[in-house]
Structure formats: structure tokens, C-alpha cells
């Protein structure tokens, strides 16, 4: 393999040498227009590059040829500094090109020195903090460039963007917008609105004059103040992306504050809206130097200056891929060495901005050095919003758990982020305004651990969300909307034992029974009376109802019961009727099961016996309660607790629905008074059977006088 590689290298080197010899070019840079750029639509491309020569940039003589060898017209040569330049050229239909660079001292020929800079307004996103009005559907098909185009609804619709700060314009500037519509659904009118800083509105229209403030016409924008409407002619061609240009020659003001895109009838897609044409971007893929086997070269991109806690930095991305003939790469930045072909790092404000790349192959080394220019822009606070999405906080026997973070980038450029959990790290690159969801897994933790999901930008921590592993005995947990958190704001994870604890019965004079959950009013009193009647000495306490407030009901129920249990003395029997609140809201049964099991495990620590009841089967849709019935049965079975199938007790009664009727047509969750004895009878039977078992086990009972 390496033999073939070497031969290939020799071939390339030879042919390059021949070419250079023939053309007398010292460097040849292969470059490509980006994959998402609208090749064939935009007639301008840009190549920004670091000058590989020590010659001053303005002295370089550069020509660009496509793959067929056709030379492309260089419209403008912009010197960024002595080492860096941007070439604006007219592309052919090719994506791939080669720039030949000669150190002639005569400079590069330009054909349009007055070419105005382009400023993108809408391309996959609008500037952060813009105010959007209208119907903004971002769609992937059809699109001309980037990832999306925008469209509204069929018939009539519009998109209007009020820019966060007005853009400076000159009379020689123009608005460039691309649009598409289908032949079978043509609009009758297309209109573009430009609003200047003084709220002066200019309207440019193609097709019929239908969008108007005038009565008697088909009116869409009836409340537009007096606005100048200019007819731009007939509708453009259908079925392909059309470039529309609106010159600013008629605009008196020099600041543009809003752009609106309207259509009447049909459906229209819009893309790539800019002030002047924004060129397609190209980047160097291979840099070669005559007579050199190994040529080191890197591309770089640097973000605008950003600020975090007073620290100012730029995110620097360097890529050594364009180096030719090399197999190993090593960057030196601010005195530190980094091995690798690409890297992202932070350039802090005071850092040495010199970057050196050493490329190497079989002992042959070449080095490129470049000092990244300082940005003149004012640093802006980095704006990321990170949130924890609702998660399942109950874990059995410290099983691994997953949380999902949503990370939203509110900066005007894509930001490279790392989300670090305990076990792994994931990289995400949210675009401006984009939200990414990142899964973070946690395992191998123990009770009391604080686990962090941290958001970093090139090693600098932006924020962290912390999760605390607690147990059913953890106190000071409170509800915070959809989450349980502790007093320090850590998100809680409640670990509970998957198997029953070893609480054993102790001899007692009277039975201490605790009732928890949703059951008909008076249940405790009736039960007490029956037990008294049967000669069982008992004390019945009830945990009452939770205050749900504006919080998740399931967790509120858990905290309510467990809080009461943790405050109470040990008891004999804990009877849990599931709360109807979380069931009525159709909490997913798998989540519900874990919370109920956590409650049971807390009960098991304090009570000798547990009775888990299934929920009552509220009519008319008992099937809404079936999964919860199944779950309670499973918990009881798994933990060897007693189970009272209240659900089936009622369903086995042919007239069970009537027991829940408030009046004909109105059903309650719990049985009315006449239906209460049905389950209490079975509960007493169960209690009696537990006693019998305990007798058989030889422990004392509350059976007394």
C-alpha cells in the first residue's frame, strides 16, 4: 500500500513540477466551492487564503483555472493583510479549481475593483434578535443554498424580518433575493418590501398589482401606510430558482431596517436574501509548492471575539488537510504543541497569535507559520441557553440513567460545543438560533454523588447542570415545576432498592396502620370500626393529599408520602392506594411504576407489612387504569408484598359503573359511599390473612381484647 502511495506521490510531484516548470508558477492551490453553496446560481465565489509565499500578498500574481483548464475571471483581489487575501472570481459550472500563484511582483489582475461587499440577511436563519413576522416555514425542498429555503402557506403569505440593528446601505447597493415557484401554482403577484430607518416603506412588485392598501382591489396589506410601490415587470419564470435584484437607487435613506417578502396566490419559496451578492465560499483543499515533496499548509477560521466572565476569546479552528505530501502534523500555538490534522481551540485575548504547523513525511519536514490577525469587532457575551429536559428521576439499584440537555446557540455564528458527562463527551455544532439535544448518560455512581453534565467551548466551561444521587431518605428535596431539586438546585435522582428490605415484625400491642394515596373519604374510619369490631386493636393514620401546586403530580405524590413516612414512627402496615392525580394525567406507566416502587421501598423500611392496592377502575374507560393495575401487581409480586386488586374487585361486580356515578352521565374517580364497603371488605380479609401468616410465623399480633 505504502509503495502505491509513494508512487502516486512521485507522480503528483513530477507532474506538478512539470506544470510549474512550464508555467513558472511557484504554488498551486487546489480549492473547492462548499457543498451547500448554490453552484450554477450565484455568479460570484470567494477564496480566502493565507499566502504560502513570503512575498507580500499584493505582489502575487494569481490565476484561477477550473478542472477543464479554463481560466476564471478574477473580479476583485482583496488584501486582508500582508499574508492573507481574498479573491472574488466568476466561477464556471465546476466545484473544483486550482489557483496558480506566482511571486512576480506585478500583482493580480482585477476586473471589478468597485464590487460591493455582500451582507447576508436571510440564509437558513435570520440574525439573532431579529423580529420575524409572517409564516416562516424552513423547508429543505426546494432549496437553493444552505440547508433550507423559506416558504409560507399556499394562497397568500409573507415573511418579514425587522433587523436587530439597521444595515447601512448606499445607492449603488442592491437587494438580492432568490425565489422559486411551481408552474402549476403560480403567484399572481410577488412583492418585496424594504423599510428604511425612518419607517419609510418601498414596495417592489412583479406581476399584477393586487397587494395594496387601496380599496376596491384585492387587498392584503390594508394597513400599510403610504408606501411607494414600483412595478418591476412581469412575474419571473417558474420551475427554477430565479435571482431578483432590487437596486437601492430610489431609496433616499441610508439605513435598511426591515425586509418583507410577499406573494398573492400560489406558493413561493425564497432563499439567500442579501444586500448585494454574497459570494459562494471556497476553501483550499491542497497546497503544493514546486520542488517540495512536503508542503505544510493550513486553513483556519476564527470566530468573532466572544466574552465569558470577563474573558475575551476567539474560537480558532485550524485544519492541516491542505498540506501536501505529509502524513503527520503538529501545531504549535502560544508555545503549546498539539498533534493532529485539525483542532479547535480558544485564542484568549492576550495569547500569542502565532500558529506554526509542522508537516512531516518520512523525515521530511516543512513548517508554515502564520499570525492570526486580531479582530477589530467588539467582543460580545457568548449566549448559550442550556436546559435539562424532563427526565425520569427514579432509578433502581443505581442503574445507569440518561438525561437530555437542550443547548441553544443565541450567537450569530456556529459555536463548537462539548457536552461532557461522567462517562463520555459529545461534540455539537449548533448553528445560530439552533437547538441541539444531547443525551448524557450517568453510571457507576453512589448515593450522595453530584454528577455534572458540563457544556464547554474548547475546554472553557460555559455552564453545568448537576444531578445529585439521593435515596428515599434524602431530605430537603423540593418540587420545581417538572423537576425535583435539592436546596442547592441540583436535579435529583432517587435511587431505591430493587428488592424488599429486611424489616421484620416486632411484637406490638396494637396495629399501627398507615393509609396513603387516593381512596374514598371515610375509608379510615370504616376500617377502624371493622377492625375494632373484629377485636383488632389498631391505630390508623393517613398521609393525606399532596399539594400539587404548579408541579409534576407524580413527583409531588412521591415527595408527599415519603416525606410523611420519613417523619413518622415505624409502623406495622402500610397500605398504598395509588393517587388518582398522576393516573388521571396518564403518566406513562413505566415512569409511574418506578415512582410507586420508590414509595413502596420507603414504606418497607418502616413497616413490617406492605399492602399495595391497584387503582380503582374509574368508568367509563376502565382501560385507562389497566396499565397501572398491572404495574401495582408487578411491584407487589416482585417485592413479595401483599396486593389488593381493587380494580378487579369492582370490575367483577356487574353493576360496578353505578357505584361511581355521581348522577347519570357523570362519573367520579372513586366509588360513591354505597360502593365503599366492597373493597373494604376485601381489605379486611387481606389484613386477617396477614395476621394468620404472622401467627404461623410465631410473632405477636395486634389481636387483642
Amino acid at each position: 500500500m505504502s509503495k502505491i502511495k509513494n508512487m502516486l506521490f512521485v507522480y503528483i510531484a513530477l507532474s506538478s513540477s512539470l506544470l510549474f516548470a512550464q508555467e513558472s508558477w511557484r504554488y498551486a492551490a487546489d480549492f473547492a466551492i462548499g457543498e451547500s453553496e448554490p453552484l450554477g446560481h450565484v455568479n460570484l465565489a470567494s477564496l480566502k487564503f493565507i499566502n504560502p509565499s513570503k512575498e507580500r500578498t499584493q505582489n502575487l500574481n494569481i490565476i484561477i483555472k477550473d478542472t477543464k483548464g479554463e481560466a476564471c475571471q478574477i473580479k476583485k483581489f482583496k488584501q486582508v493583510n500582508n499574508r492573507e487575501a481574498e479573491i472574488l472570481f466568476t466561477p464556471s459550472s465546476d466545484r473544483f479549481y486550482t489557483a496558480y500563484i506566482k511571486e512576480s511582483g506585478t500583482g493580480t489582475t482585477q476586473t471589478d475593483e468597485n464590487l460591493r461587499d455582500g451582507k447576508m440577511l436571510i440564509e437558513d436563519f435570520v440574525p439573532v434578535d431579529s423580529t420575524k413576522t409572517g409564516q416562516w416555514n424552513w423547508v429543505t425542498v426546494p432549496r437553493m443554498s444552505g440547508s433550507f429555503s423559506i416558504t409560507g402557506k399556499e394562497g397568500t403569505s409573507f415573511q418579514r424580518v425587522l433587523l436587530p440593528s439597521p444595515e447601512k446601505i448606499e445607492k449603488s447597493d442592491k437587494l438580492v433575493v432568490y425565489l422559486y415557484y411551481m408552474e402549476e401554482k403560480p403567484p399572481e403577484e410577488i412583492m418585496v418590501e424594504l423599510t428604511t430607518i425612518r419607517d419609510k416603506i418601498y414596495l417592489y412588485s412583479w406581476g399584477q398589482d393586487l397587494i395594496s392598501a387601496d380599496k376596491g382591489k384585492k387587498i392584503l396589506l390594508g394597513t400599510l401606510p403610504e408606501a411607494k410601490k414600483i412595478s418591476m415587470g412581469s412575474l419571473p419564470e417558474s420551475g427554477r430558482w430565479i435571482k431578483m435584484e432590487i437596486p437601492f437607487t430610489g431609496i433616499k435613506e441610508n439605513m435598511l431596517s426591515a425586509v418583507g417578502l410577499y406573494h398573492y396566490g400560489g406558493r413561493v419559496w425564497w432563499d439567500r436574501v442579501s444586500i448585494n451578492e454574497v459570494p459562494m465560499t471556497a476553501s483550499i483543499t491542497t497546497m503544493r509548492e514546486r520542488d517540495k515533496k512536503v508542503k505544510s499548509y493550513f486553513n483556519y477560521s476564527a470566530s468573532s471575539p466572544l466574552k465569558l466572565d470577563g474573558k475575551v476569546f476567539q474560537v480558532l479552528k485550524v485544519d492541516a488537510s491542505p498540506s501536501s505530501g505529509a502524513e503527520a502534523f503538529s501545531f504549535t500555538v502560544s508555545g503549546k504543541k498539539y498533534a493532529g490534522r485539525t483542532m479547535e481551540l480558544l485564542l484568549m485575548q492576550g495569547d500569542d497569535r502565532k500558529i506554526s504547523l509542522e508537516a512531516e513525511c518520512q523525515g521530511i519536514r516543512d513548517t508554515m507559520e502564520y499570525e492570526i490577525p486580531r479582530s477589530r469587532e467588539n467582543p460580545e457575551d457568548i449566549k448559550m441557553v442550556t436546559k435539562v429536559l424532563p427526565y425520569q428521576p427514579f432509578v433502581r439499584d443505581r442503574e445507569p440513567f440518561t438525561v437530555i440537555l437542550s443547548v441553544t446557540n443565541l450567537n450569530n455564528e456556529t459555536v463548537p460545543l462539548s457536552v461532557k458527562g461522567r462517562d463520555a463527551e459529545e461534540k455539537v455544532y449548533p448553528q445560530p438560533g439552533e437547538t441541539k439535544h444531547v443525551y448524557v448518560n450517568f453510571s457507576n455512581y453512589k448515593s450522595g454523588d453530584i454528577m455534572e453534565a458540563g457544556i464547554y467551548i474548547c475546554g472553557l466551561k460555559l455552564c453545568g447542570k448537576t444531578f445529585r444521587a439521593g435515596s428515599t431518605e434524602t431530605s430537603n428535596i423540593s418540587m420545581d415545576g417538572p423537576f425535583m431539586t435539592d436546596e442547592k438546585g441540583n436535579f435529583m435522582v432517587i435511587d431505591f432498592p430493587g428488592e424488599k428490605g429486611k424489616k421484620t415484625s416486632t411484637p406490638v400491642d396494637s396495629l399501627n396502620i398507615t393509609l396513603a394515596g387516593s381512596y374514598p373519604d371515610g375509608t379510615g374510619e370504616i376500617l377502624q370500626k371493622i377492625l375494632n369490631k373484629e377485636g383488632i386493636k389498631s391505630v390508623i393514620s393517613e398521609t393525606g393529599k399532596p399539594e400539587y401546586g404548579y408541579n409534576q403530580m407524580l413527583f409531588s405524590e412521591y415527595l408527599h408520602i415519603v416525606g410523611k413516612l420519613n417523619l413518622s414512627e415505624n409502623g406495622d402496615i402500610f397500605i398504598l392506594f395509588p393517587y388518582t392525580g398522576s393516573i388521571e394525567e396518564k403518566t406513562p406507566p413505566a415512569e409511574w411504576q418506578k415512582a410507586v416502587e420508590a414509595i413502596i421501598s420507603a414504606g418497607e423500611k418502616q413497616f413490617s407489612k406492605i399492602i399495595i392496592c391497584s387503582p380503582f377502575p374509574a368508568p367509563p374507560f376502565p382501560e385507562l387504569y389497566t396499565p397501572y393495575k398491572t404495574v401495582t401487581e408487578e411491584i407487589a409480586c416482585k417485592r413479595s408484598d401483599n396486593f389488593l386488586d381493587v380494580y378487579s374487585i369492582y370490575l367483577s361486580n356487574p353493576d360496578w359503573r353505578k357505584l361511581f356515578i355521581r348522577t347519570e352521565g357523570i362519573y367520579k374517580n372513586l366509588p360513591e359511599e354505597k360502593g365503599v364497603p366492597l373493597f373494604i371488605k376485601e381489605l379486611v380479609n387481606l389484613l386477617n390473612s396477614i395476621f394468620v401468616k404472622q401467627y404461623q410465623n410465631g410473632t405477636a399480633l395486634g389481636k387483642g381484647k
Binding site: Q135, G481, F483, A618, I666
Partner: protein
């Protein structure tokens, strides 16, 4: 979407002639029609996968699963060499909440029919990353259905899907019943909310259209009065303060509620009626509850004896002292070099703080807007997904208003609830372009001013009022239904159209509101619009008074409106070129307006300014001064008192009758000047008062910043006027003079 009904089933996608709008969601795959492996008809949808571990296809269109029990489709992967493949289906509801099934297993070479329970009782659909659970409304409002396949390794090959069928429920919703019925209270205090919650077995296409489906509660009071209260569609939300402000999480499933406020002591009984397509289909006994005596004054009314003022139902005087709380924050800044940016998006959390501080400082009144950016319920879904367009309401914003009104009740704050802000129907604030009534957004109005004349628009607005009344009329903390904010700023303002509109809407709202809340509309411009001020449907004349010469401005505002013999209120004011001047304007506004026979204290606009600089103490002082003072029946008139001082800028304003008076003496340079001075000034003066009956009087002088009496003085009124020297004070001082 293709429909073909065969008895109990309905085929919705058959791929006979087209892809039925199914789309690729993976770049590595292609969709095409195929004549192979068709289950229904002669064609199927072929998905060609190229070197991928996943496949993903979706139908991004609306589907209504109502009255269907199951959804099924056929999938076939001809490659019998393939090991087990996992498949899951997902749907997104109309707010883009994602629900997905568990994993189905399919095998290469084996045809598989996948069936999913889509009924409202189904547990097949699990929420992903949210807390909303599958219910009948999610089932009715599917905005995307998709299928995802997971291969064990990278796969290249094809699979086929066909015959997507809906299978009808065996028991369609013929007999409507209410379940999960909860009336948690069997006794409530008078003027406390009694609330019944339940779910309905019938799920209308539009739960906000009373013509399609309506549930009402009829409550009979102990004295035999009947109140009809409509039920309203409801969804629960959880709230949390995140880094970007308040986040609301829709929680659980949909439901209905009836809210009622008992105004009499004794036992109430209630029945519940159900109407479908306008016809009553059920009339059921609901239950009873006991209303017990409370110390609450009840709803706010125009006082029967002195209708220029407000009082509670129990007769107690209500004098509004407060400021605007339009929405949680405000983008507008009153002056250059504004020192702070108010926290954004604090939502209901902002009101927790505002109300608490207002309550602690003696305020009892606030003005809140149902604006699109805060608590509107009817707006364009493109603006935010919780909006549903015309005739369908945002239950998310409705929940917010629930919260705010409950917080208001907790802190004793009474609310002027503004139902429409002018920007919705005018261009300057650009909201018209987002308005669902606009033809560009699918509405019926070509121009915004047609809102006042278009019958369909009027009908939609009435329907919105139905929902507003059903959900919030229970609240005694709502003082006013303010139909409009700054109605004169709407486009093409036409007095006659506005008049007719109020003549239509006012009686409608009065007719459906069982609690007779006060109703009015608000104007911006000082001169607008006397024709409308005069109509009986404008119960109180409200307007703005933005002016640096605050005292003059308040007096002019009042005197222009006084001839109409109606309550008068300044709803907005606040100007100032810097912090100190604006604060002085705030101070001047509350003291000057309270010293005028206005119905309440003028409402300062810049509430984030008050909050940021903690300026609530101005209200504390004012409320201390006015504590226990009842203006009703006193025939207070603007005073003719005058002030003499070495300082030429001293002014006095006040109200009095022949026995008592209230006066505010102020440094005009600070409080009533076109170019106000900002530095504090010390003053002494002598006031000349008159129009009092002869006798012994007591004068109390109050510090207007601390709310404390700084001195008291007795004097005898002998002649027509009396001169009273006032010792040195800073900036201003307030006086109470009463005959002993």
C-alpha cells in the same frame, strides 16, 4: 392523503398514483412507487436505503384519528438474509410534541403488519422529552406521522410499505358522558372560586366552538337566582424559571373546567348541560355545595350612590392605587442612556415579584394586557405554536392568565384586564401583519378597520369573549373588562364604526358575564374621542397623560372629561429625560391624580423602572395618606386654594368640599415644568384656603415619600379664606384638613 372507506376501515395511504406526500428524512435513501409487494391495490411505497444504519420516512400533513381505534400498515423487507430490524413510529401533534411507540421487530423476508392503538385511551404513544401525554386532542391534531427503522449494521437495500389503514372504534362517541369528575370543595367562602374539573368522552373538532360543543353549569343560589356558566377547555402547565426565563411545560392530558363564584351565603345546587351542534343532549345533576360567609367584599361595582367611584359588593369603598403591569417586561425605554435592561421572559414569575411588592406598599390595582406577546388567546400560529388561529385559543396563555389572576387574588391586587391592544389592528406596531383576522393569515379582513364592521369578525370576537368569560369572569380580582387599549390608534379610525361596535359588543359582554364586571375602552390622545366618551357603553373615560407638566396635564385631562359625568381614569403616564426626572414624574402623577376627583390614581407606565429602582415606596406613602379616606358622596371639587412663597414655582392642587380637603403643595420646577429640574429643593410657603364652613379644623401635613405625618396643627376658619404657613419641606408636602 388518499381516502378509501371499507366498512370499519379507511385506507389513508395506498400509493396507487403518487407518494401521497410521503417524504424522505434521510439523505441516504430514496422514495419511489413500486408495483412490487403491494398489499392494497397494485402499488406500494418503495424505500431504497443506501449504506445506512437507519431509515426514516414521514408524512408531514394533518391526520385526524378521531373515532378510530387502530392504525395499521404493512411493511416488507425482501432481504431474507437480514437479521432482526427494529422499527418505531412517531407522531407530532399540532404543537410539535413528539410521541413515539415502542420498538416493533421485523425480519427480512417476512411480511409484517404493524398495528397501533390510536384511541384516546391508548398507552402506545409515549411522550419524548416532554410531559404532555397522549389524549383525544393529540389524536385529532396530528401534524406529522413517521416511521423509523434501525438496522444492526449499515444496510443497502429496499423495503416496502403499503396499505395504511385506520380502523374505526367499535363504540363511537354517541352517548356523551363526563368522567374523572372532581368537585373538590363541598363548602367554599362567598366570592371564592368553586371549580369543577372533568373530562368529556366527546372530543369536538374545535373545543372552543360553542356551536359545535358546549357544556354549561347552571348554578342556583340559595335565594333562587340562576347563573349559567359555560365550561371551558383546559390544559395543565408546569412552570420553571430557566436561564432564558419562564418555561412552560404542557403536562398530562386535556380536560374541562367550570368555575363559579358564589355571591350569597347558603347552599347552591348545580346542574350540567351538554349541547352538541346547538342541541341540548344532556342535562345532569351536578351536585351541591355550601357557600359560607367570608370577609371578602366581592366584585367591584360603580358605587350606587356615587357612581364616579368604585365600591365592592359589600359596600366598601375601592380606590384604585397602582400602576401598569402590561406584560412581564417592556422593550421601550423612556430616556436616553437607560441604565438597565429588564430581565426578559420572566413570564408569570415576574408577576409574583411585582404583586408582592405592590401589596407590601399599599398598591391594589394593575393594568394587564392580553397582548400577543403576553396573554392573548386568539392569534396566529406562525407567531407561536401555542396559538391556533381564528376561533381557537391558546390554552398556554390562558394558563398564564389563570396564574396571574390567582397571584393577584393572593396579594389583593385588582386588575384592569385589557382585551385588545391597538397594535393588533394598526401598522405602527406591525402586529396587524400577524393578526389572524387579516386575510393574509387566513382571516376575513382586508384592512384592520373592518374589524369593527365585518359581521364574521364580530362573531369571532364574541366567541372569544365567551371563552374569556367562561374562564375568568369568576375572578373578583378583575375590575374592568377594558375592551381596547388606545382604540384611537387603530388604522382608519372611524368614530361611527367604533360607536356601533361598542353598541354591539358591550351589551353582548354584559349579557354573558354573570358577575357584571365593569366595561370600558381606553383612548390614547387627549382629545379623543368625545363622541365615544358620551355613549353609555363607555362606562369610564380612560386615557393617557404623558406630560412633564404633570399637574397641569392631570387637571386638563380631568376637566375635559368631567362634563360627561362619568368616572374618569388616567391609564398611562410617565415622561422623563433621566432617572431622577422620570421618578419625579412618577411621584407627581400619583399625587396630582389623587388630588383630583378621578376614580383612581393615575397608572404610571414604566413598571420595570419602578421595579428595578425599587420605587414602590412612593405608593406606600400615597396609600398611607389615603388609608381610610372614602371619597364617595363627599362631592369633592378641585380646590381654588393658592400658595404664596418666595419660590415662584410653588403650586398647590387638591380636592375639597366645605368641611374637608386634601392638598398637594409642590415645587413646580420638579413636578410641573416643561423642562423639569432634577435636584431636590427645599421650600417654605403659606397657603391660602377657602370655601370651608367656619369652625375648628385640624391640619395634618404628610411627608409624601415616607407616608408619615410631619406635623399637625389646629386652626379656626373664621373668614372666607384662611392663610396657613407651612414650615420648610423638601420638594413637596401633602395636607389633610378636616373640620373637628
Amino acid at each position: 392523503m388518499f381516502f378509501c372507506t371499507r366498512g370499519m376501515t379507511q385506507i389513508i395511504f395506498d400509493f396507487e398514483n403518487s407518494l401521497d406526500n410521503w417524504q424522505n428524512r434521510e439523505a441516504s435513501q430514496q422514495l419511489s412507487l413500486s408495483k412490487e409487494y403491494a398489499v392494497s391495490g397494485s402499488a406500494s411505497l418503495k424505500v431504497s436505503v443506501n449504506n445506512s444504519e437507519t431509515a426514516w420516512i414521514a408524512y408531514p400533513g394533518k391526520i385526524d384519528f378521531n373515532n378510530f381505534q387502530f392504525f395499521k400498515f404493512n411493511i416488507y423487507m425482501p432481504d431474507s438474509g437480514l437479521s432482526e430490524i427494529s422499527l418505531k413510529c412517531y407522531v407530532k401533534d399540532n404543537e410539535w410534541h413528539w410521541f413515539e411507540t415502542g420498538l416493533f421487530r421485523i425480519k427480512g423476508g417476512v411480511k409484517k403488519e404493524v398495528g397501533i392503538d390510536i384511541s384516546n385511551t391508548s398507552f402506545a404513544w409515549k411522550p419524548l422529552n416532554h410531559l404532555k401525554n397522549w389524549d383525544g386532542y393529540a389524536a385529532r391534531n396530528i401534524s406529522e406521522f413517521g416511521i423509523m427503522l434501525f438496522f444492526q449494521d449499515k444496510y443497502t437495500g429496499s423495503f416496502y410499505v403499503d396499505a395504511f389503514e385506520l380502523i374505526k372504534a367499535r363504540f363511537p362517541d354517541d352517548k356523551i358522558c363526563l368522567y374523572n369528575f372532581e368537585a373538590p370543595q363541598d363548602r367554599v367562602k362567598t366570592f371564592e372560586k368553586f371549580e369543577v374539573s372533568f373530562k368529556s368522552s366527546y372530543r369536538p373538532e374545535n373545543p372552543f366552538d360553542p356551536q359545535e360543543f358546549r357544556i354549561t353549569g347552571s348554578f342556583v343560589s340559595p335565594s333562587g337566582k340562576t347563573f349559567e356558566v359555560p365550561a371551558f377547555y383546559y390544559h395543565k402547565y408546569l412552570r420553571r424559571l430557566e436561564d432564558d426565563g419562564e418555561n412552560l411545560f404542557p403536562y398530562g392530558i386535556e380536560g374541562w373546567k367550570i368555575r363559579f363564584t358564589p355571591q350569597e351565603m347558603g347552599r347552591y345546587t348545580y346542574t350540567i348541560q351538554i349541547y352538541r351542534d346547538g342541541n341540548k343532549v344532556s342535562d345532569m345533576e351536578g351536585g351541591t355545595f355550601l357557600a359560607e360567609m367570608s370577609g371578602d367584599g366581592g366584585f367591584v361595582r360603580w358605587d350606587k350612590k356615587d357612581p364616579l367611584y368604585m365600591s365592592f359588593q359589600n359596600g366598601a369603598f375601592f380606590y384604585p392605587i397602582g400602576h401598569t403591569l402590561r406584560s412581564p417586561d417592556d422593550k421601550r425605554v423612556p430616556y436616553y442612556r437607560w441604565e438597565f435592561t429588564p430581565p426578559k421572559n420572566m413570564g408569570t414569575f415576574a408577576y409574583d415579584g411585582y404583586f408582592k411588592k405592590m401589596h407590601e406598599n399599599g398598591e391594589n390595582y394593575a393594568r394587564i394586557w392580553m397582548s400577543a406577546w403576553w396573554q392573548a388567546i386568539e392569534w396566529n400560529p406562525f407567531y407561536a405554536p401555542h396559538y391556533k388561529g381564528l376561533g381557537r385559543y391558546s390554552v398556554e396563555n390562558a394558563w398564564r392568565l389563570d396564574y396571574v389572576l390567582e397571584a393577584a387574588a393572593r396579594y389583593g391586587i385588582y386588575v384592569d384586564l385589557t382585551l385588545i391592544n391597538h397594535g393588533q389592528f394598526s401598522r405602527p406596531d406591525t402586529e396587524w401583519l400577524d393578526n389572524p383576522y387579516s386575510i393574509i393569515n387566513g382571516g376575513m379582513l382586508n384592512t384592520a378597520d373592518e374589524f369593527f364592521t365585518n359581521q364574521l369578525a364580530i362573531d369571532y370576537f364574541k366567541r372569544r369573549l365567551d371563552y374569556i368569560v367562561s374562564r375568568w369572569a369568576y375572578s373578583k380580582n378583575i375590575v374592568l373588562w377594558e375592551l381596547w387599549n388606545e382604540i384611537d390608534l387603530t388604522i382608519n379610525y372611524n368614530t361611527q364604526n367604533i360607536k356601533k361596535w361598542h353598541e354591539t359588543i358591550h351589551p353582548y359582554l354584559r349579557g354573558i358575564d354573570p358577575y357584571d364586571h365593569l366595561i370600558t375602552s381606553h383612548y390614547c390622545r387627549i382629545e379623543a374621542d368625545p363622541v365615544i366618551w358620551a355613549i353609555p357603553q363607555i362606562e369610564m373615560i380612560e386615557g393617557n397623560s404623558y406630560n412633564a407638566e404633570m399637574v397641569e396635564s392631570v387637571l386638563t385631562f380631568f376637566t375635559k372629561r368631567k362634563p360627561f359625568g362619568k368616572p374618569v381614569f388616567i391609564n398611562e403616564y410617565g415622561v422623563g429625560a433621566n432617572r431622577r426626572i422620570l421618578e419625579n414624574n412618577l411621584h407627581a402623577g400619583i399625587w396630582a391624580s389623587s388630588m383630583t376627583p378621578l376614580t383612581g390614581v393615575a397608572l404610571f407606565w414604566y413598571w420595570p423602572f419602578i421595579d428595578y429602582f425599587d420605587l414602590y415606596f412612593h405608593y406606600k406613602a400615597l396609600s398611607e395618606f389615603w388609608k381610610g379616606e372614602d371619597r364617595r358622596g363627599k362631592n369633592y371639587q378641585l380646590t381654588a386654594a393658592s400658595v404664596e412663597s418666595e419660590s415662584k414655582d410653588m403650586g398647590i392642587t387638591g380636592i375639597q368640599n366645605n368641611f374637608e380637603g386634601f392638598f398637594w403643595i409642590y415645587a413646580g420646577k420638579l413636578f410641573n415644568d416643561k423642562r423639569p429640574q432634577e435636584t431636590p429643593v427645599k421650600r417654605t410657603c403659606t397657603i391660602k384656603i377657602g370655601n370651608f364652613e367656619p369652625g375648628n379644623y385640624e391640619l395634618e401635613a404628610w411627608n409624601t415619600y415616607k407616608g408619615e405625618i410631619v406635623f399637625k396643627k389646629d386652626f379656626v376658619m373664621e373668614g372666607e379664606t384662611e392663610e396657613v404657613p407651612i414650615p420648610e419641606f423638601l420638594n413637596d408636602i401633602a395636607l389633610k384638613i378636616k373640620r373637628k
